[in-house]
């Protein structure tokens, strides 16, 4: 339980917004928590052996190893990154530890016009396993705000990380996360992205580098796009070692907003496998979805494929459900809920049910 005096600074409405990104203040089934508002730390603590969770500043000051990770994924890919960040979290799961309950982290935007810029480091050491659920959200007061988040993931040999990011912004906020993951031998990195609330614009194109043999990754996104929102969301995977595998799955529903669903898989080694799947539904006439699946290979012995289907809900399906007594509205909502199936996220049952619940309440209001 996060002490009440720590929560006291949060207004009821803000609390609800934070809860809507998966934060559970009771911490009953959580292994650790982190909450930052604008650039200030609200709380950070670990409830589990083998899990460290703290503000990035603290980690960089006291731990040279953490400092070594900072920027490492950018250096290894020859990319530059913004050094003017303030805050962010450092999460490390120690070698061989399985963290039973999810770790929760939230970056909250409060002040009007605030430009939040964070740098996060997530390290899962050899053979360790963890689920992280992280929320990014904005207060109703935070109009014209901006969030820029850099995240670096290090999933070491034989490790498993399931990282679920839930965005809950509002109409006037701009969001630009940048993330790079490096995934070692026989390691698994699952990256889920769920965005159900309005936003002005989001641009993100997280990258995973699978440099260890038999590494696997999947990127799954579930996006609901409201009128006026632009969500340009994709993922990129470089299969750099033999027998690596990647899957990029996206489900987008436009309620009038614009979605660009990108995906890029590059086979840079032999015997690798990659699959892209993009499905999009447009409900009203003015929505738009642009699916851009890309694949490339330098080798012949690879297995890369993609499938994409976008458009309106098939009217035969609606008619079929009406024949079973559902109204057109009920039929549409049933199909949309099924379409945005959280089953693809590879979550443990409890967490899956929580996210299903978030989705249900958003869809109930949205459709």
């Amino acid at each position: 339980m996060i002490e009440h005096n720590r929560q006291d600074n949060l207004e009821g409405r803000d609390r609800d917004t934070i809860v809507s990104t998966g934060m559970d203040f009771s911490e009953k089934e959580r292994s650790g928590s982190f909450l930052q508002q604008d650039s200030g730390l609200m709380f950070a603590r670990s409830l589990s052996d083998g899990l460290e969770i703290m503000e990035i500043k603290e980690a960089l000051e006291k731990d040279p190893e953490a400092a070594g990770y900072f920027g490492a994924n950018f250096r290894s890919t020859g990319r530059d990154f913004d050094r003017e960040t303030e805050g962010g979290y450092f999460i490390r799961v120690k070698r061989g530890h399985t963290i039973e309950f999810p770790v929760q982290a939230c970056l909250f935007l409060k002040q009007q016009g605030f430009r939040q810029k964070v740098h996060n480091l997530i390290v899962v050491e050899e053979g360790a396993k963890a689920y992280i659920i992280t929320g990014c959200s904005a207060s109703h007061s935070a109009s014209e705000g901006m969030h820029m988040g850099i995240s670096e993931f290090f999933v070491h040999n034989g490790a498993y990380l399931n990282f679920t990011m839930i965005h809950s912004w509002q109409e006037s906020v701009s969001v630009k996360p940048v993330s790079i993951a490096s995934v070692g031998e026989e390691a698994v990195f699952i990256s889920n992205y769920v965005c159900l609330k309005p936003v002005r614009d989001i641009t993100m194109y997280p990258t995973a580098l699978l440099h260890g043999r038999k590494a696997r990754t999947s990127f799954n996104s579930i996006i609901l796009s409201h009128p006026g929102s632009l969500q340009d969301v994709g993922s990129r995977v470089a299969l750099q070692a033999e027998e690596t595998q990647a899957e990029i799955i996206s489900r987008a529903v436009s309620l009038g907003g614009k979605v660009v669903a990108r995906g890029h898989i590059k086979a840079a080694a032999r015997n690798v496998k990659g699959h892209l799947e993009c499905r999009g539904l447009i409900l009203p006439e003015q929505g738009s979805i642009y699916a851009i699946p890309e694949m490339e290979t330098d080798y012949r012995d690879v297995d890369l494929s993609h499938e994409a289907a976008i458009g309106r809900i098939n009217k035969d399906e609606i008619e079929y459900l009406r024949c079973r007594g559902l109204s057109p509205r009920e039929a549409q909502s049933l199909i949309v809920r099924g379409f945005m199936d959280v089953g693809v996220l590879g979550l443990p049952d409890k967490l899956k049910a929580e996210i299903e619940e978030l989705e249900n309440s958003t869809l109930k209001a949205g459709l």
């Binding site: 098939n314 009217k315 035969d316 399906e317 008619e319 079929y320 459900l321 009406r322 024949c323 079973r324 007594g325 559902l326 109204s327 057109p328 049933l334 199909i335 809920r337 099924g338 379409f339 199936d341």
Partner: protein, 242 residues
């Protein structure tokens, strides 16, 4: 009178498909509809059900006292109509169990019927996704029984189903129809279903018109021996309306 189709003509995509069709089904009656491919049988069922794009340009359709042409599909369902599709669509993301639960609050019945129709493991699957032809038909019958309509419209219930499963389906259907006051209109090509149900009336549709009315087994035998051409020579046409 349960259902009355009175002098109904139907246009689909600007093409006249049904021309002045008359037919009626009494309460408790099972009527079998024969006819060559493309003659308009499915069109008649979809029109009765109220599918989009099936435009009634003349005539009227009554269910009991209520005129139903013009009502939305789900309103007709509320009045007691139920359709078993010839070619049901796949509905991605919607589980058979979800629909079953909406159609019937009786968990015991859902369990029993899914077991009888060998669909237990299909309940957790998306409707018709990857179902075989026979599985689709069984799932259609399953849903219809749970829906419990007063008038069943069955479009080729046994097409693509193996003999063993036809027997299972036939028995389930017969059991259901024996309940008091259930009526049905059944389209069949193979005639197999006739071995399981007690149907006293049959009619033949050719080129969008209703031709003869008679005992279903006799009609079926005639068609088998002499084809549909003979039906067209039949002078019964005028009688078919009544």
């Amino acid at each position: 009178m349960m259902l009355e189709v009175k002098n109904v003509s139907v246009e689909v995509s600007g093409r006249l498909i049904l021309q002045g069709v008359d037919m009626h089904i009494r309460k408790g009656e099972v009527v079998v509809l024969f006819g060559p491919n493309g003659s308009g049988k499915s069109t008649l069922l979809k029109t009765i059900m109220g599918f989009e794009g099936y435009k009634v340009i003349s005539g009227e359709i009554l269910l009991g006292e209520t005129r139903i042409d013009g009502l939305p599909v789900e309103e007709r369902v509320k009045l007691g109509l139920g359709l078993m599709y010839q070619h049901p669509p796949q509905v991605r993301g919607v589980k058979l169990a979800q629909i079953a639960g909406r159609l019937s609050g009786n968990a015991g019945l859902i369990k029993e019927m899914s077991e009888r129709l060998s669909l237990s493991s299909h309940l957790s699957r998306d409707i018709n996704m990857g179902f075989s032809g026979g599985e689709m038909k069984r799932s259609e019958l399953f849903q219809l029984i749970l829906q419990d309509p007063g008038l069943l419209l069955l479009d080729e219930p046994e097409s693509g189903v193996d003999l063993e499963n036809i027997s299972v389906m036939g028995k389930v259907l017969d059991g259901y129809l024996k309940e008091e006051g259930k009526s049905a209109l059944i389209i069949t090509h193979t005639g197999y279903i006739l071995d399981y149900i007690n149907a006293r009336k049959g009619c033949v549709m050719i080129d969008g018109k209703m031709w003869c009315v008679g005992r279903p087994k006799e009609i079926f035998e005639n068609i088998r021996e002499r084809g549909y051409d003979k039906c067209m020579g039949c002078d019964d046409r005028a009688q078919s309306a009544r």
